[in-house]
């Protein structure tokens, strides 16, 4: 286990190093002088520019600049937004809980619906039920979620008037951010209307974002379940006369869920990608829409910092999943 752990940690460090190089290079690859971008004006005093260059360390050799960049990033300093002049780290931390709330709700939906669907499809393999479930799953998997989100708005918000179109909560409620998670904060406010409002704002974005993971999980659960159901120990359990519920629910499901858990972890990365689209459409004030605004405003420190943070989180989640999988399944530990 120690060797496995060391190997994994080594790979993670290399990947993290690569990501910092990428994020650092991003600013320098973008056409245009970073200092000029910051000023955004044409007739600046050259002396003033030189001052700013020195102050930012842009006049120093590239390798020193990179070292400084990593040093600051490790201390939580990701620079200043060109548009708002606020710290990029602070801005990220303000937007992050909204994305986590959305992503966790989406993943919950995906698991709670996807796993049972996959089990049902596996149990009734080859039946109409199986084909319809898998057909729906493949459609979900092929779904352009930016369009799916619009369709949901068209149906539930515009036509039926059931849910709001954008934001996290009705502006009538003034919720104090305690945890940053609107569902929890609105519960803490002890105003039942606030919680309902927060929930109705969350539901459509969560469905839109959860669709692709749901499809992936349903497909994965089905194939894992089919594999497990053909194992000897399942046949033994059946032969012992255990009830089908016990065989499937206890013996088969436990082992079938291991690959599913891995898939759930690996979906975290694509959730961030999907969040960019979902948040943009629903005006959800999370990391994704923050990044897109940053690009539209040519606010490169925001893009740079955001990418570094998202990549770091994805790396850490993948590492956790890897280690958990290794813990659950010893066979993985000894495979390099």
């Amino acid at each position: 286990m120690t060797l496995f752990l060391a190997h994994r940690l080594g790979l993670v460090l290399i990947t993290f190093f690569g990501i910092t190089v990428f994020a650092f290079a991003l600013i320098h690859l973008i056409p245009g002088d970073p200092v000029m971008l910051m000023f955004g004006e044409r007739n600046v005093d050259p002396a003033q520019l030189a001052d700013l260059r020195a102050q930012l360390g842009i006049d120093r050799p590239m390798i020193v600049q990179y070292g400084l960049y990593v040093w600051r990033a490790l201390h939580g300093d990701l620079g200043t937004s060109l548009a708002t002049h606020d710290s990029v780290m602070d801005e990220f931390l303000t937007h992050f809980p909204a994305t986590v709330e959305l992503a966790v709700s989406a993943m919950l939906l995906a698991v709670l619906i996807g796993v049972p669907l996959g089990i049902i499809a596996a149990l009734f393999r080859g039946s109409t039920t199986d084909y319809s479930v898998m057909g729906i799953a493949l459609t979900g998997y092929s779904m352009p979620i930016f369009w799916w989100a619009i369709l949901l708005i068209l149906l539930f918000s515009v036509t039926l008037g059931l849910t709001p179109v954008s934001g996290r909560i009705d502006i009538a409620y003034d919720i104090q951010p305690v945890t940053g998670f609107m569902l929890i904060d609105s519960l803490l406010s002890e105003d039942s209307g606030a919680f309902r409002s927060a929930l109705s704002h969350l539901i459509l974005p969560a469905v839109a974002l959860g669709t692709i993971p749901l499809a992936v999980i349903a497909r994965m659960t089905r194939s894992a379940m089919l594999e497990v159901l053909s194992e000897d120990y399942v046949r033994t359990a059946r032969a012992k006369g255990l009830s089908p519920l016990r065989v499937v629910g206890l013996h088969a499901l436990r082992n079938a869920l291991i690959p599913v858990i891995t898939v759930v972890g690996l979906q975290v990365g694509s959730l961030f990608g999907g969040a960019v689209l979902t948040e943009t459409i629903f005006a959800w004030p999370g990391v994704g829409s923050w990044l897109i605004h940053g690009i539209a405003r040519r606010d490169y420190p925001v893009l740079q910092g955001g990418i570094l943070m998202v990549a770091t989180i994805v790396i850490l989640v993948n590492l956790t999943v890897d280690l958990l999988a290794g813990l659950v399944n010893p066979r993985l530990r000894h495979r390099r």
Partner: protein, 290 residues
């Protein structure tokens, strides 16, 4: 692919593949969808009632019907005509993106697999780094560097797809390198380039073909997403994602301008995914999901 399969003549293998593929309902359905799409793209000038940029000022946001089967958009362009011409664009996007990443990815994978050691480690770590970023986010970052536009979006998406091809090729190469026929070819004095491209590569193609088919759908989806975010094809190009972004402000008043472009994307992506699934099942029954 099993050993007995390999021993048979190539056309017998192909017949086998075709039989297995056509036996899967999904694969056949997907092939049908893709064929329809190709026909629509090929005959777009004949099928489209109007030009993709032709503006009918007297029919702005005209509902479907009355000479406009799928309605018109906010400047009076026929939606059906734009979708048909957009099919040409989407098919080309998929073809270019997949070719780029297929060729580059296979090459990198072959080199990594054959060279081993430090070269292998370097290539694979680079792929790890690319995989650490969500694909759409990496594509967005690349477009931010290159500047928005269809060509840059396609380049970004093909970069994003690289790791899949590299990893698959390398894994397949490593399996093949341990086999007897490779040792025999090496002892017969085959040069490295010959070994790579003529001896080993053909036997690694099965998973790569599946990946290419699935990559085709991802390419169309991601490029449309970039177009939707304003980072891909720019208006008035009839690219489906860009059309959707243009139409977003009319969600409440004109459902047709947002419904049909998305439906076109969905059916196309679904078609290529079905073909990919069907091919995987036909090429490698062991991978068969059910």
């Amino acid at each position: 692919m099993s050993a007995s399969n390999l021993a048979r003549a190539p056309d017998a293998r192909f017949a086998d593949l075709r039989r297995h593929f056509l036996a899967s309902r999904g694969g056949t359905l997907g092939l049908g969808l893709v064929t329809l799409l190709i026909l629509a793209a090929a005959f777009a000038p004949l099928l489209a009632p109007y030009g993709p940029y032709e503006q009918m000022r007297q029919a702005i946001l005209h509902a479907p019907g009355g000479g406009f089967p799928l309605g018109t958009d906010d400047v009076g362009r026929d939606v059906l005509s734009r979708l048909l011409y957009g099919a040409r664009l989407s098919l080309s996007i998929g073809a270019v993106v997949v070719s780029l990443s297929f060729v580059t990815g296979t090459l990198l994978g072959l080199v990594a697999g054959f060279a081993g050691g430090i070269v292998d480690a370097l290539v694979m770590r680079l792929m790890d780094i690319m995989l650490a970023l969500p694909t759409l986010l990496l594509a967005i970052a690349v477009v931010a560097v290159l500047g928005p536009g269809l060509a840059n979006a396609m380049l970004a998406v093909s970069i994003v797809q690289l790791p899949g091809f590299v990893r698959l090729t390398r894994a397949a190469v490593q399996v093949e390198l341990g086999k007897d026929y490779v040792a025999a070819s090496r002892m017969a004095g085959a040069r490295r380039a010959r070994m790579m491209f003529l001896t080993v590569l053909p036997n690694c193609l099965a998973p790569l073909i599946v990946q290419a088919s699935l990559g085709y759908s991802t390419a169309i989806l991601d490029t449309a997403a970039l177009g939707f975010l304003g980072l891909g094809a720019q208006p008035p190009t009839p690219e489906w994602g860009t059309m959707l972004a243009d139409a977003l402000q009319f969600v409440q008043s004109a459902w047709w301008v947002v419904t049909f472009p998305g439906l076109a994307i969905l059916l196309t992506v679904l078609g290529f995914n079905l073909v990919g699934d069907g091919l995987r099942d036909a090429l490698d029954p062991r991978l068969k999901v059910g």
